[in-house]
């Protein structure tokens, strides 16, 4: 695809620790086109958040982006530093964090913070900046935005604060917004509102989103494309609908199968045995092999290679065959707990 606004190619992010070099992100590649939403799914420690931070140049020592390239609007931003990166960050690419109180300064009014954010990248008057902030608040569905500008963060609910954070990210109509678990801390009814709002924003403004989350349900109802991460690698990617309908990688299949809502109540849930491996101590070969029901001899010795088929990838020696395995076929397999 040539119309990608963000292209990440073989990204490597490593952390130097006493236990050795941890490859938190190990060869991650994906791209997002204008107005599309990419769901970056994974469990804790899978490297999904580190990927987001790496794109924005927010990795600090002892971590570093050790390789690969990040192309934003045709410009390689991988090795931008200091002032050069600051000009890009917030203007062409922005971030929304899980906890909006991390983004918002509790002792400054919403308006003050948003005006500062506008004027950090645009030479406009205070008045024009305020108007722009107000429009951004209105765009994310905040009622009476003019009054909200004079409110302090603590006067708003959690859902409203997250909307303010999204509005702030939108101020300069960035090409891409990276959102790191932005609705995880919110109630379901509020999460529903935000998801609907984000879908509309992506369609109307053309801003692309990278939506980092552990929640498959959110991704399946929001995202156009999915990347599933495990132990620092993308193990499966493709259009959301086809990945959800017929996962190729056993890990994706296992995750999908263990969602309770899809099963007869009271029955045993198919579970992925074991727990996520420590990055300091990854098994040789495929990192998922010790937990995988389909693992063969090759899986424990040789790292798997990408399998490609019409817009989809799977990093597996024995990807699930689409024909012989109907959707969620792993439901018939019952795993015993290993730990």
């Amino acid at each position: 695809m040539s119309d990608a606004v963000l292209r990440v190619n073989n990204l490597q992010t490593q952390f130097q620790t006493r236990a050795g070099v941890l490859k938190a992100v190990d060869g991650v590649s994906f791209e997002v086109a204008r107005g599309r939403i990419l769901g970056l799914v994974g469990e804790s420690g899978s490297g999904k958040s580190v990927t987001g931070y790496s794109i924005l140049g927010l990795i600090e020592a002892p971590g570093k982006v050790a390789g690969g390239e990040i192309i934003l609007n045709g410009q390689d931003i991988t090795r931008l530093k200091g002032e050069a990166m600051r000009r890009v960050r917030g203007a062409q690419i922005a971030m929304v964090f899980q906890d909006p109180m991390m983004t918002l300064n509790p002792v400054l009014k919403i308006g003050t913070q948003m005006i500062a954010a506008v004027r950090a990248h645009a030479r406009v008057s205070r008045k024009a900046a305020r108007a722009r902030a107000r429009d951004a608040l209105a765009k994310v569905g905040i009622p009476s935005p003019e009054e909200r500008l004079d409110a302090y963060p603590h006067q708003l609910s959690g859902g409203m604060r997250q909307r303010v954070a999204i509005a702030t990210a939108l101020l300069h109509s960035p090409a891409v917004i990276i959102a790191d678990e932005p609705t995880t801390a919110l109630d379901v009814s509020i999460q529903g509102q935000i998801l609907a709002e984000v879908r509309r924003l992506a369609d109307e403004t053309g801003t692309a989103f990278v939506w980092v989350t552990h929640d498959l349900a959110v991704v399946s109802s929001l995202a156009d494309d999915i990347c599933v991460m495990y132990a620092g690698r993308v193990v499966e990617s493709g259009p959301a609908d086809s990945v959800i309908a017929s996962p190729r990688h056993p890990y994706t299949a296992g995750l999908l199968a263990s969602v309770p809502a899809e099963h007869e109540p009271g029955t045993r849930l198919p579970q992925v045995p074991g727990s996520t491996p420590s990055l300091a101590n990854l098994p040789s070969g495929c990192a998922f092999a010790p937990r995988c029901a389909k693992a063969g001899p090759a899986c424990t010795t040789t790292p798997p290679v990408q399998h490609f088929e019409d817009g989809r990838t799977a990093l597996c020696h024995y990807p699930i065959e689409p024909v012989s395995c109907p959707p969620l076929s792993l439901t018939s397999t019952t795993y015993r707990s290993a730990s």
Partner: protein, 334 residues
């Protein structure tokens, strides 16, 4: 219906924020400061039969955790009473309370906070049963090994500390600690909310196995409709301190009655193909400090009428075993 093990009878819980010294002086000088009252739970009645699991579902501030803590005897109800096997929980002080509360055990959301980081997990599990003479001190080691084995952990781990375990394993330890007291009732407060999806399924399976083996009775608190549906026999939906709907699980999910329940079901994202349209509930969750008049849901309800603003609908029977608190079922909203 088998006899009720737990009988919650018109229970309310209010938290009062008392004015501090400065505010009291301001009040004396005529500032008219009043103490703030949070009505966390208002007039809730619910029974749980032996061997039954009842799910409590709601969003933040709905009072589900407060209700759970009252059942476990951590909070005392402001009004009403909670009977456990025909004896009141918490109101009787002294030795009897002690005896009673060991029969109700609670499992908390965050296994990183609920285990003492400086105590070996074997000692954590053994402490309760030894103190309450469920096992003798010299048999404690074997007892702990048995409990750990029961929750799927290697008994050889009992000399380890909590930081050596993952989140899912810690939650198993918390479950082992609760089971070691041989409880009649388990209160589980969001037991899988902080776990990864693949680990969630492991812990839910463990809970269902234990339930079958030990004939456990449980109150399962969660905001996750899918999880509750999977493990509960009946489900109570709570909103701002009140139960708005109570029904057997299958019937509730097949045909929700209360407008809030219906809206909640519709706003939950689901794993599925091609469903991109959300119909989220409009508006915010009001503060329990200052709940709306009448039916608490009326400002967000598409069917609300003048009656909803005036009077709070009672939780009324709408079918066998089904209850809903909505004026639409009882003569309309006019």
């Amino acid at each position: 219906m088998p006899s009720a093990l737990l009988d919650i009878d018109h229970v309310s819980k209010r938290f009062v924020k008392r004015p501090n010294l400065g505010e009291r002086i301001a009040g004396l000088l005529g500032a008219g400061q009043k103490s703030e009252i949070v009505r966390a739970v208002t007039d809730v009645s619910l029974t749980v039969a032996k061997g039954e699991v009842v799910g409590l579902v709601g969003e933040s501030g709905c009072g589900k955790s407060t209700l759970g803590r009252m059942i476990a005897g951590i909070y005392t109800p402001s009004d009403g009473k909670i009977l456990f096997g025909n004896a009141p929980v918490a109101k009787v002080q002294g030795r009897r309370t002690q005896k009673l509360t060991t029969r109700v055990q609670m499992i908390h959301q965050d296994p990183f906070a609920s285990l003492n980081p400086r105590i070996r997990i074997g000692d954590t599990v053994a402490e309760g049963p030894v103190a309450h003479n469920i096992v003798k001190g010299r048999d404690a080691d074997a007892y702990v090994a048995d409990m750990l084995g029961r929750v799927g952990l290697d008994p050889g781990y009992r000399r380890r500390f909590p930081h050596q375990f993952s989140g899912g394993q810690r939650q198993r330890i918390a479950i082992a600690r609760a089971l070691a007291m041989k409880p009649d009732l388990l209160v589980l407060d969001e037991p899988v909310a902080s776990l990864d999806v693949s680990i969630q399924a492991q812990v839910l399976n463990l809970f269902m196995d234990l339930r079958q083996d030990l004939d456990l009775t449980g109150v399962f608190i969660s905001h996750d409709l899918g999880v509750v549906r999977h493990v509960s026999d009946r489900v109570a939906i709570m909103y701002l301190g009140r139960i708005v709907e109570l029904a057997p699980t299958a019937e509730l999910y097949a045909k929700p009655n209360h407008p809030y329940t219906r809206a909640l079901f519709e706003s939950v994202p689901r794993v599925g193909v091609g469903r991109k349209d959300f119909r989220p509930i409009a508006g915010e969750i009001p503060s329990p400090l200052n709940p709306p008049s009448g039916c608490h849901f009326h400002p967000r309800c598409p069917f609300a009428g003048p009656r909803c603003k005036r009077e709070a609908p009672p939780l009324a029977a709408i079918g066998p075993g089904r209850f809903s608190a909505c004026h639409l079922n009882t003569g309309g909203t006019e």
